[in-house]
Symmetry: C2
Subunit: 414 residues, 2 copies
């Protein structure tokens, strides 16, 4: 019996990790091929009521200096302590597994290199899509493919809010309140609703498949706070639902496009059926075509499922580095193209007393476009979908229109 596992952080994911590992320990040890157990749980607090109270410690060095410890689950979050701890552990040859997307998005290349240099592993299946298997499938199962694009619903909170807006005609504000009541959204929901969380995750997936660190600062993001029920209704009428989509794509010149924003997704696309707090990732490869991974993108046990899967993989391969690697990059490198320079098609909603009279000018600006309708459309409203064109050209046209009408909404098409 080796007591060779430690857990740093006994919050939601940490306690789920301990719970799941202990519950299935017998089967897990069979899979590892030897008896393994958790030795320490590091947290600032004590948990006298916990069945695992005797494992709680407060001093990180106990873990660092214990030669029996092979794998550490860093589930404390943040980029301060977590960063220091992870570096020290990897430098000592101890593998680290994590659900910490902020840390992987900020320091992934450095930490992966450190793991490789020290013959151990840095795994982060739990950092994207909670329990949904996505990192390992991309890195292994789909390794024979050139990945053409990844698009995902990577944030459960915003997907819950949008689902309530679409299915129950709740306003954004009411849906956010409900999400907070149910514990799906934080008191300060900024990181979710402004797309920061989804942005970190698409950076991790993009770095993994394109081999170079994509920093969140390189990726344009816009959130869902300005989506209205009017937009939801136009979208529905035209055969679409609005989803917050994070995507990364290789362009013809090998540069990348990466963006997080709400999009009108055709109802026939599987991503349109992903409701509530569920996440999904759609991947297109030159061999496999389209594949989709779907499941609970957050939560105690789903996230713990991915953490424990990584722990098992490390324990199966102790003393060897599991081959995940991407190159470091500089934050001011320009391999992610400016989003305004990329082609897209845009849903636009105009408001103004004379909007109907603008139709000839709009047709002249955009060429072939599609007007869309909704029941009881007010006379001062006009909605249309532009053809596919460079986004800055769309904006230039809208800037001209803005002299005659208010640009009430613009949302990219999927």
């Amino acid at each position: 019996m080796s007591k060779n596992v430690a857990v740093i952080g006994y919050g939601v994911v940490g306690s789920g990790t301990v719970e799941l590992f202990m519950k299935n320990r017998e089967a897990i040890n069979k899979k590892i091929g030897r008896d393994c157990d958790i030795k320490y749980i590091l947290d600032l607090r004590d948990f006298p009521e916990s069945p695992f109270a005797d494992m709680i410690i407060h001093d990180f060095d106990t873990i660092l200096n214990d030669d029996e410890i092979e794998v550490v689950a860093e589930v404390v979050g943040g980029t301060t302590f977590a960063y220091e701890y992870t570096k020290k552990l990897l430098a000592k040859g101890k593998s680290v597994v994590t659900s910490n997307k902020a840390l992987v998005a900020a320091y992934g290349a450095e930490l992966l290199q450190l793991a490789q240099d020290n013959g151990c592993s840095y795994l982060f299946e739990a950092s994207v899509g909670g329990g949904i298997p996505i990192i390992r499938p991309l890195n292994k199962c789909l390794a024979g493919n050139e990945i053409q694009q990844i698009s995902g619903i990577l944030n459960g909170t915003t997907n819950f809010i949008l689902t309530k807006m679409i299915k129950d005609q709740m306003s954004f504000e009411d849906a956010l309140k409900l999400a907070q009541q149910l514990g799906y959204a934080e008191a300060d929901p900024t990181a979710d609703v402004e797309g920061e969380d989804a942005c970190r995750k698409i950076c991790i997936l993009g770095s993994l498949v394109y081999g170079k660190h994509i920093y969140p600062e390189m990726v344009h993001k816009s959130g869902i706070t300005r989506i209205t029920l009017d937009d939801v209704e136009y979208a529905d009428n035209a055969g679409y639902v609005i989803k917050l989509i994070a995507s990364v794509k290789r362009l013809e010149d090998n540069s990348l496009s990466a963006i997080v924003c709400p999009r009108l997704v055709p109802k026939s696309n599987m991503l349109a059926s992903v409701d509530d707090v569920y996440n999904a990732v759609s991947v297109t490869g030159d061999g496999v075509g389209d594949v989709l991974f779907y499941g609970q993108g957050a939560g105690k046990l789903p996230t713990a499922s991915a953490v424990v899967g990584d722990i098992i993989d490390c324990l199966r391969h102790n003393g060897r580095s599991l081959g995940i690697h991407w190159e470091e990059s500089k934050k001011d490198e320009k391999f992610v193209v400016r989003y305004k320079d990329i082609n897209c098609s845009m849903y636009v909603r105009l408001k103004g007393d004379d909007v109907q009279a603008l139709k000839p000018s709009i047709s002249e600006m955009f060429g072939k476009l599609m007007y869309i309708e909704r029941a009881n459309r007010p006379d001062d409203e006009l909605a249309f979908i532009t053809p596919n064109m460079v986004e800055s050209d769309i904006d230039a046209n809208l800037a001209i229109l803005s002299h005659s009408a208010e640009i009430a909404s613009k949302i990219r098409m999927f």
Copy 2:
């Protein structure tokens, strides 16, 4: 540069495997960490027009006796040559990767043991769901879970036929003909439409997660040949679609339930949205909850994607056995429970001049049940959904009813 890969069988999957490997070879070699290449393609035929004509050989022993060969892709199919070749290769310590579901379903336990004993690997990601990552996610990412059930649409041909019946009101016969014209169905479609193909695949998934070889002979299967447009219409009206579902499940006493049959799937379930030749696998684990994997379940390049992914994994870990293992079992062992002894709910359609008069007896037999309707239902027809009960009890009731009416259809609910 090592010319360390061989491909056995230059049919659809074999040519796709060579094509994809050669196309992405530079990126693949970067992932492996050394230069690797294909040396031989074994086939009975010559392919003088092929760009890879000079790799074609006809003698298996050339591969077996070449020490440079580390990995062999067995994509010849069947259980005769493929079985002999695979055993000989593994016994020599050469890893084998395959898309051959018939072989894995028939001899998986034996071949995995042989690989383990000889320090090499036997991988078969391509054998289930074509290019969809499913074997590795189950074996690694979800290893921390107790898997409660797996349900999948695992056969693209039947899913295409059912989609045409549901969306275009084509009859089974016409849809089958169309599938044959499009190359989705064989001239003899038995293995697909009778559920044999899906049965092999669910046996592989069940063996993998429950650790014991499930032989196809242990699993009850019924196909889709008797599904009518009448049934499709009743299902639609009640909020369901009919799909061929393969499933395996752990029961409370640790025995297993495994069955392949058409089922009425609620439209709200993601599996109901899986159309045409696409496949999907839904997995429920005690940590992760429900996850779903979706993509093209067959075809040249999708299947090749999985084969090449396995080749890469073997080359990354040459000289080591990648840990997949399940125990051998005897075909007459009884750990898969007789399907008639398991609870289910059933859609039933009766035909007969006096069917309406049977309602009181039906209610007495089944207790609380639900009658369902369709537009212009003929007077001599009655359709209902039974409560959840042991299947043999449902059958006993239907046997009594069969004296007064024809049991035109019975299809299990999902």
